[in-house]
Structures are given as structure tokens and as C-alpha cells.
Amino acid sequence: MKEQDKTPDDRRGFVMALGGAIATAFAAIGSIILPGSAAASLLDDEDENDSEKVGVKVQYGMVIDVRRCIGCHACTVACKSEFDVPPGVNRSWVEYTEKGQYPNVGRSFLPRLCNHCSEPLCVDVCPTNATYRREQDGIIAVDHGVCIACKYCMHACPYDARFLDPVNEWVDKCDFCIHRVSKGLAPSCVNTCVGGARIFGNLADPDSAVSMLIASNRVSVLRSEMGTFPNVYYIDADFTDEVDRRRPEVREVRVITHRRHKERT
């Protein structure tokens, strides 16, 4: 390196480059951020919605009580039919984790969906504001008309909750069944949950079923280290992952995602 320092030409080029970069940074910081234009979706009618009640904050959320889940996939199919989700992609799915060595083995279930994060990385990266957080209820929604299918949010989501709709060519994910909850109906997957494992409600209300469950159980969220602050809580979730195969005492782990994506990413 020393030798190169001797060439003034290059050094000059470099300083300039650096200056350019700094200038750019300033430009970025200084740029006026226009307010998002996420057009209120057609479905935002709040006739029977919590949000309509004046002065009450609403943050919808879900508790998934894995103790009750029987791994039946009724939720998966309910969601598929509610939205006619095309083959190969899922708004909701149920993973199985198998572990242990004969005869000491177990299989646990992990129902999955969008976490409707309070710090949603998908919203942070969306260049068009197609993905946005609904002020009235905290649901993270995608405005299909605006989405350009850049798939950036698919990378940003730490939960692999998003997919490219192969028919409509927009990016989609669970929207907590806005069209149902805004009419006072439970989300479709909750409505059919055979085990009664999915419980939905207003986390901002300390008396709601979900808040009470969270208060009185040992709950967890997925990948909390991501700082996304999910609003989907789990009771008794099994956090074993295929990476745990590296541990000598849990060599045998098999995660079955029941999705086209065989890997849990």
C-alpha cells in the first residue's frame, strides 16, 4: 500500500470520491421525505371495527397457543380459500419440527403467518409505500395497486411471510383478514382453527383475550433479535431449528415447512 500512496493522481481521485460520497449522504439526509401516498384500500371500511370506537387505540394481534395446535392445516386451507391463494405460495402455513432419537422423539407444530410487526422491516424498505402500517389498527397491509413487485420487502421480512403472487404479479402476505375483522368477524384461520390455537384480538386493550393470554402465559415471538416487535405471540412454541443439528445433543432435527420452500428461511 505504501508504494501506492506515492501516486498523487490516485489519491486525488480517491479524495474526490470520498467527497462525493459524503455529499451524497448529505443529500440523502437532507432530502425531504414526502408523506406516503398509500392509498387507503377499498376495504378500509370500519363499520363494525374496533377502530371506530372513539379514543380507543387498536393494535390487532394474534396469540398462537401451540399447546392447542394439532397440526391439522385447517388454517392453511382456510386462508387459501379465503383469498384464493395460488398453488406454491402461502399467507399462512404450519411447520412441523421433528427431533430426537428413537425412542425419545417428538414432533411439534408451528403455525406461521405475517407477524404484523410494530417495527416492520418490510415497510421500511418498500420504495412505493405499497406496504404500509394501517394507523387505525396496526395491520401491515399491501396496496396491490401500488406494489411494483420489486420483491425488496420479501428480502426484508425476517419471517419469509411474503411472496410474489404468481397470478397477479404483486407481492402479498397475510393481512389479518382486514375484510373480515373490519366487519367484526374473526380472521378466517382463527375461525376454523380446529385446536382453538389461534386467538385474535386487540393487543392495545388490556382486557382482550389476547392481552390476557399474553399476560398470564410464557409467551415468545419469533426472531425477537430482529427487533421487529411482532404482534403474533406464541405460547409454548418450539424454537428448535435445523441449525440446532450442530449441537451434539440435538443432532436429529427435521423441519418440514409444508410449503414449496422446503427450507425455513
Binding site: 370506537k53 425412542p103 397470478v167 374473526a186 386493550d205 382486557d207
Partner: protein, 843 residues
């Protein structure tokens, strides 16, 4: 079709225990979520609901189907159903895929070319029915109606009544078989031998302990949603412990507190050992001892409880846990521990299913299980193993004058095949036809049934069904082009369940009967017609009208005749409600304990049989005279059980355990008066499976099992299910076995028996016992349309891009029935699905 507001209004009034339906509370900030409505996702317009009932498996759960622009778009549970608590399983919701299956058959098809060649022409219903009428009428007129054979799988309650109880008897044929030999006949027979009634129900609402032998209730079962929902609640809310014996880790096993690995076909030994522990450690004391009063344990119906205890102790003395360990591989210590825990936790529910009964020793194993429940007092009690409660529909019975029914003697298998054969042995019908000594049907018609695929020995089934010299005319009644329909001469496109009227009689998990109906959500697609309507028309054409001209009329009359449904407003109300249970009824427990008074016994024809302690009505049993009746006695009058009235126990007379198909007493017969007469041991014993005695190194036991997202051969045309089911394309093999056979994960293997061989790839997993290969019973389809087999059905619709390219799963699964033979459990004739020995080698 129906008014949604009414659904909700009526629904809400029935919604006891269905919190979701409660009207919104005043609590301003808390929404209580409703059910029973749905909105279109994109437009927000309300979807049009129709109350109906699922028919994708024998559970028959009440449902609401939603329409958008007259298309069915969504199906969910009916919140008014107490059975299902408003839930529907994955399969039920995928019914949307089935009704719009691009490979559905939508016109009658007649074969061109050779049978099974796959060439078809569309014909009109009129032509099709004319051909059938000609053939059927000729046989009927010639006095050979029995040459019309009708074979069905599980069908709706109304199809059973309309077709099996009205149409076919009015026609005159009794050559009618079901598929019960494939599924439940060993269980049913064991139940008939012990408590008489045959459908059991498990009271998870009140139980404190669940002991499971070979049931996969969390994934399958004939009352799946109702039971799995309650079991899950019991486990979490009441901390109910569950112990499951299975050869592989089913989801039921994984939701249990303990999965106990057991060698295939050896449950009976463990159960006997548990009974041994209960008797020898005096754990029967209390409820068990009390219940023994209602049991027959010795030849003497008047034996005292002490004598019964003595007899049981003697019988069970040698069946020690150590003995059972040697057979089953379950450690004796564990057997003891579980027994003590189970016997000390009351009420406890002993559950069981085809894991123990679809085996060579199925009836004995199931009887042993009944004994285990009995000696701990867990029979028909809250929280125990109960006699199933189902609705009693009063239906129109058709023409007054029915001909004497004639039948071909091909329904009960070969000579000596089974001791009782109280249920037909449908899996031998083809072989009996081939053999020919009992005659052959001229017309073989099947309905809701896929004989080629669902029975053992697929190749022979194909060969026989294909052979025009054996069966001159074959008719498939089905909406779908399955493996059997491909071998028909004529395919009648049945309406799909979402296009039909029906009533149903599913078992109630809470011991209160629930009445459910089905109604068309949309009219039949294409030219499809409800086969029940077709039967009405056929009867009309053959000039024996049934008195109702359609399934709708039949269901309507039934709803108006049946007290419970009549009370709510009959058919009209039921089309709005979909489902209704008797509001006044209390759960039925201890049904055997009803005291029968003098008056009830002082009726014409009722006599007392000293030898059995049974009061019976010889007239209802079809005996010629009272003299004969007394002379022959209850046990030896052929149909005496039909006249059963009551059982004398001590100095009281009880309703007892009413026999259903054999002349058992009104006792709970641990000691079987029926089997002893057949020369079999009267008390449950263990017999090992003969084929398992000496296994070579490369011989494994093939177990087949149900998967939660498929029903046997019925749902593989549902893309929403197929894509979840892709993981089930493997044979499960334990690492130890794999090592011994030099196999590794993902390898392709050959499974060979005398019948031939199949190929499958394997998953090496710790979730199956060594020495076993487990394969799901749903895979390896070679017809049924593109989603199931990758093959389009004749006249199947071309799909438009991009949907056709979105089918990403492969159909590489193997079907086990190519290598499983048609073999009967020796008492009941149940097909043995779980104990076939196969030679396994790398492919």
C-alpha cells in the same frame, strides 16, 4: 337460496357453548368476533351462505358454504353445530377444489373399445338410463334381481336409507355390500360381541385420562373434528394426560404425553397385561367392581361379583407385563406404571382404532380393550368410552309391497373365511365372482367407492373388473374419473355433495344427537345428477315408484317426520339451520342402567330366558311360536336378538346392553356367549400374527396410515391438499432398520410380496419402530385427474395459464395396495391393512 339473517338468527339461538356467535357486547373496546358470515376479499361484498354438511370423510361435519356470483368460493364450519363447535378440517375446506375439479365427469360416459382402454363417448342420460333399465328390468322380470350387485363405500345417511333401505329392496336385490370390511368391521364386531351397539364415542369433555391404542384421532377418525377439538381442549384446559400406543409417531402420538412404541399387532398382549395388573393389584375396586355387576365374565349369568373377579384373575394370571414385554417390546415396568396411573385416574377414556383392529387379531384386541375399559368402570360413563349417540331419522319407507329380497352368496367371503361375518366381506367379492360357484352378478354397480384402489391386491381387482366374461356390465356412479371408473362400461356422473340433498347421522361427542342436513349450494355442474334422484327415476321407469320423486322430497318428508327436526319447523327450518340438536335432551350416559318395570315386561310375546337372563319378545324375533321359542331358548333362536327386551341382573331388570347382530345377552359380555359357541375362547386372548413369527432380515412389516390432509382415495384432486401432502411421499424406516438393510434417507426401495412389487423412496426417521415400513394409504394414484396423478381425465378441461404451470408437486407416491393381499381377520372378516410382511431392498 336461504336468508343469511335467518341463519344467524336461528343459528344464534342454537349456539350454546359457541362463544363466537354471541352478539356483540356492550364493552365498547372489545370486539367479540362472529362467525357465519363472510365477505369477498377484493370487493368487500357479502358472500352468500348456504348451510350444508361436509362429505369428504365419514365424519360429516356441519358446514356453511359461501358463494360469490353463484360459485362456491369458501366452506367453513357451521357455528351452530355442537358436534364440531363450528370447525372444519383442512379437507372440508378444500371441497371448493373438488367441485371445480377440471377433471370432473360432467356427462354420462359410455366406453368405446375394450373395457379399460380409456376411450369414451358422451351419451345422454336418457340413453344411459334406458340401457340400465333394460338390463335391470329384464333380470327382475326373470326373477333374478340378485344379479344386480350394488357396492358402495361410505355414503350419506339418506343415501343409505333411500338406496339401501328403499330402492334396492323394492327392486328385490340383496346383493349389496359396503366397505365396512375395509375400515371398521373388526371393531364393530368386537363391540357387538361385548356391548351390542356398535358405534363408540369417547367423552373427552369429561375425561381425565386418555389411553390410546392405535387411533390417530388427531388426524383421522370417523368423527375427526368433533373429537380432536375436544381432545385438544381437554389436554390444555384440564391437563388431561394421554398415552398413545402406535408403531409410528402420528400427530396423535406427538400430541400425547407419551408415545409408546409397540411392535405391530401386539397391542392385545399389552392390554391383557394391563388387565392382569388391574386385577392382581386390586385396581378394579370401586367403579370397576361396580361395573362388573353388568358384565358377563363366566358362563353363569348369575355369577356373583366375587366369582367374576376370581374368573378374571384366573384368566389373566399368565398374561403378565413381563410376558407382554417379550411380545410387544413395551417394557414391563412401563406397562405397570401406566396401568396404575390409568386405573387411578377416573374417569379415563380408553380409545382405539384400526391400528389394533385392522390386523389378524383385531377382534380379540378390541375385545381386550373393551375389557380394560370395563374392569376400570369406564364404560358409558361421563368421561369414558361410551355408546355412540346418533340421530334417529324417521324416513319414508317406500312402496308397501316389496318383493322378497334375493341375494348372491358372494358377500361373506369364502367358506370358513370368518367366524361371524356380521358385516359383509366386500374385499373378497371380486375373488368370489372369479371363483364363480355362488353365481355372478350381471350388473355390477358401485357408488362412492373405488374398489380397484381401496382394496388389497390392486392388480387382481383390475384383472377381474376388466374381464367382461366375469362381469358383463359395470357401472360406476361417481363425479370423478378414478381408477375403478376407468374400468366401467358406463359412468354416471353423480352430483357432488355440495350439489345434493341429504340428511346425516354423525355420532355426537357430547352424547346428544345432532341432526344435520345437506342441501345444494349450487345446482349440479354440467349434466351431473344426484344418484338418489336417479334411483327415484329408475324405480319409476321400472314401474315400482318409491312414493317420492327426488332426494329433495325424501329429505323434506324425513325432516317433517322426525320429531326433533319437525319441532323446529321441519324441512324449511332445516334448510336455514343446517344442523339442529334436541334442545331438551340430556347427554345419554349409563344407558344400560335403565330399570325396566313390570309393566314393560308384561307385553304380548315377551318371555324370560333362564339360561341367559334375557327377557325377549319371540314374536319380534320371528319365531313361529312361544313353544318353539322356549324350546330353542334365546341363544339358539336365529334372530332372537331382534326381540331383545331387557336383562335380569340380580333381582332387578335393566335395559342392559342391547345386542345388535348376535344373540348376546344384555350383559356387557367380557365372556362372549357367541364366540364360545363358535368354538373360540370366550374371554379375550392374544394370538400372534402367524406371518410375523419368523421374519427374514430383509422382511419388514408394512403399516399403512391416514394423513390429516387426505381422505382415502377421495381428495387427491384438491390442489390445496396435495401441496401440503407432498411430504408424505415416503416410506418411513427407522435408522436401525435402514442401517441393517444398507439404506439411507431418500433412497428408492422395492417392496415385494407374492403379489408383485412397488417402489417408493424412504425417509429414515426416528419416528417409526424398527422392523416396520410405514406408507400412507392415499398415494400412488394412476387416475383421478391431473392433480392426483398428473393425468387428465377424459373430457377434462384444458386449464389456462398460469394455473396449469402452478402445479408444482409431483405424484411420485407409492400405493401400498399393490402388495397387500385381500386377507381377512378370522372372526369378523376385516381386511388386514397393518400386518403385511414385505421384502425390502434397494431399488
Amino acid at each position: 337460496m336461504i336468508n343469511r339473517r335467518n341463519v344467524l338468527k336461528l343459528g344464534a339461538t342454537t349456539a350454546i357453548g359457541v362463544p363466537l356467535l354471541k352478539t356483540k357486547k356492550a364493552r365498547a373496546h372489545q370486539v367479540e368476533y362472529e362467525a357465519g358470515r363472510d365477505y369477498a376479499y377484493l370487493s368487500g361484498t357479502e358472500r352468500d351462505p348456504v348451510a350444508t354438511t361436509c362429505a369428504l370423510c365419514p365424519s360429516r361435519c356441519a358446514a356453511i358454504a359461501y358463494k360469490e356470483n353463484d360459485y362456491v368460493v369458501k366452506i367453513e364450519g357451521n357455528p351452530a353445530s355442537k358436534r364440531t363447535m363450528g370447525k372444519l378440517c383442512a379437507k372440508g375446506q378444500a371441497g371448493v377444489n373438488q367441485i371445480y375439479d377440471p377433471d370432473r365427469i360432467l356427462t354420462p360416459l359410455k366406453r368405446k373399445g375394450k373395457r379399460g382402454e380409456g376411450k369414451w363417448e358422451k351419451i345422454s342420460w336418457d340413453t344411459a338410463l334406458e340401457e340400465i333399465t333394460d338390463r335391470l328390468k329384464k333380470m327382475r322380470d326373470q326373477g333374478e334381481p340378485e344379479k344386480f350387485m350394488f357396492h358402495h363405500g361410505w355414503i350419506s345417511a339418506s343415501a343409505d336409507r333411500l338406496i339401501n333401505k328403499v330402492f334396492l329392496p323394492a327392486y328385490g336385490t340383496g346383493t349389496v355390500a359396503s366397505n365396512s370390511c375395509l375400515g371398521q368391521s373388526a371393531r364393530l364386531t368386537a363391540h357387538e360381541l361385548t356391548w351390542g351397539g356398535y358405534e363408540d364415542s369417547w367423552d373427552f369433555e369429561n375425561t381425565r385420562y386418555v389411553l390410546n391404542f392405535g387411533s390417530n384421532v388427531m388426524e383421522a377418525h370417523t368423527n375427526h373434528v368433533a373429537l380432536s377439538r375436544r381432545l385438544s381442549i381437554a389436554q390444555v384446559d384440564r391437563n388431561v394426560k394421554m398415552v398413545t400406543f402406535d408403531v409410528r409417531l402420528s400427530n396423535t402420538g406427538s400430541k400425547s404425553d407419551v408415545w409408546i412404541q409397540i411392535q405391530p399387532g401386539t397391542d392385545c398382549a399389552v392390554v391383557l397385561a394391563m388387565c392382569h395388573v388391574i386385577m392382581s393389584e386390586e385396581l378394579y375396586r370401586g367403579a370397576g367392581e361396580e361395573f362388573l355387576a353388568f358384565c358377563q365374565v363366566t358362563p353363569d349369568p348369575n355369577a356373583s361379583t366375587a366369582e367374576k373377579v376370581r374368573a378374571l384373575k384366573d384368566h389373566l394370571a399368565s398374561f403378565t407385563p413381563e410376558w407382554a414385554e417379550g411380545i410387544s417390546g413395551v417394557p414391563a415396568k412401563q406397562i405397570r406404571e401406566i396401568t396404575v396411573e390409568f386405573a387411578n385416574t377416573r374417569p379415563a377414556c380408553v380409545i382405539s382404532s384400526r391400528g389394533v383392529s385392522a390386523q389378524h387379531n383385531g377382534v380379540q384386541a378390541e375385545r381386550a380393550i373393551q375389557m380394560l375399559a370395563a374392569i376400570t368402570g369406564n364404560i358409558d360413563n361421563p368421561g369414558g368410552r361410551c355408546l355412540g349417540v346418533l340421530p334417529e331419522w324417521h324416513y319414508p319407507t317406500g312402496p308397501e309391497e316389496k318383493p322378497a329380497v334375493r341375494k348372491l352368496d358372494i358377500l361373506n367371503g369364502f367358506e370358513g373365511e370368518s367366524v361371524l361375518a356380521a358385516h359383509d366381506i366386500g374385499h373378497q367379492v371380486f375373488n368370489m365372482i372369479k371363483e364363480g360357484s355362488a353365481g355372478r352378478p350381471e350388473v355390477y354397480m358401485w357408488y362412492n367407492y373405488n374398489p380397484v384402489f381401496s382394496n388389497g391386491n390392486s392388480q387382481r381387482n383390475i384383472d377381474i373388473l376388466k374381464d367382461e366374461s366375469l362381469i358383463p356390465f359395470t357401472v360406476a356412479v361417481t363425479p370423478f374419473y378414478d381408477e375403478s371408473a376407468a374400468l366401467a362400461d358406463l359412468i354416471l356422473p353423480d352430483a357432488m355433495y355440495l350439489e345434493c340433498f341429504d340428511f346425516e347421522d354423525g355420532i355426537s361427542p357430547d352424547q346428544i344427537a345432532e341432526y344435520a342436513i345437506r342441501q345444494p349450494v349450487v345446482p349440479p355442474s354440467g349434466e351431473a345428477r344426484d344418484f338418489k334422484d336417479v334411483c327415484c327415476e329408475l324405480a319409476e321407469r321400472m314401474e315400482f315408484p318409491l312414493g317420492f320423486d327426488s332426494a329433495e322430497a325424501f329429505v323434506e318428508q324425513t325432516c317433517n317426520l322426525t320429531p326433533v327436526t319437525k319441532k323446529v319447523g321441519g324441512f324449511n327450518a332445516m334448510t336455514t339451520l343446517g344442523v339442529r340438536s334436541d334442545q331438551e335432551a340430556k347427554p345419554t350416559f349409563y344407558s344400560y342402567k335403565k330399570l325396566i318395570n313390570e309393566e314393560q315386561l308384561n307385553k304380548e310375546g315377551i318371555i324370560f330366558d333362564e339360561a341367559s337372563g334375557v327377557f325377549w319378545n319371540w314374536q319380534q324375533a320371528g319365531v313361529q311360536s312361544e313353544q318353539d321359542a322356549i324350546k330353542q331358548g334365546y341363544r339358539h333362536s336365529p334372530d332372537a336378538h331382534k326381540g331383545y327386551v331387557a336383562q335380569k341382573i340380580g333381582d332387578k331388570v335393566y335395559s342392559g346392553f342391547k345386542p345388535a347382530r348376535t344373540n348376546k345377552s344384555g350383559y356387557f359380555e367380557i365372556y362372549s356367549s357367541t364366540l364360545i359357541e363358535k368354538g373360540l375362547p370366550a374371554l379375550p386372548v392374544y394370538t400372534s400374527i402367524p406371518e410375523h413369527k419368523e421374519l427374514k432380515d430383509n422382511e419388514l412389516i408394512l403399516t399403512t396410515f391416514r394423513v390429516n390432509v387426505q381422505t382415502l382415495s377421495r381428495t387427491q384432486n384438491c390442489k390445496w391438499l396435495d401441496e401440503i401432502d407432498v411430504e408424505n411421499d415416503h416410506g418411513w424406516i427407522n435408522p436401525k432398520t435402514a442401517k441393517a438393510l444398507d439404506l439411507s434417507d431418500g433412497d428408492w426401495v422395492k417392496l415385494k410380496t407374492d403379489l408383485g412389487e412397488i417402489k417408493t423412496h424412504i425417509i429414515v426417521t426416528h419416528n417409526v419402530v424398527p422392523g416396520v415400513i410405514a406408507i400412507s394409504s392415499h398415494g400412488g394414484r394412476w387416475e383421478y385427474g391431473r392433480y392426483a396423478s398428473g393425468k387428465k381425465a377424459p373430457y377434462g378441461i384444458e386449464l389456462q395459464a398460469p394455473y396449469d404451470s402452478l402445479m408444482w408437486w409431483e405424484n411420485e407416491k407409492a400405493h401400498p395396495n399393490w402388495v397387500i393381499d385381500n386377507v381377512s381377520e378370522p372372526i369378523s372378516g376385516q381386511q388386514r391393512w397393518m400386518d403385511t410382511v414385505v421384502t425390502v431392498s434397494k431399488a
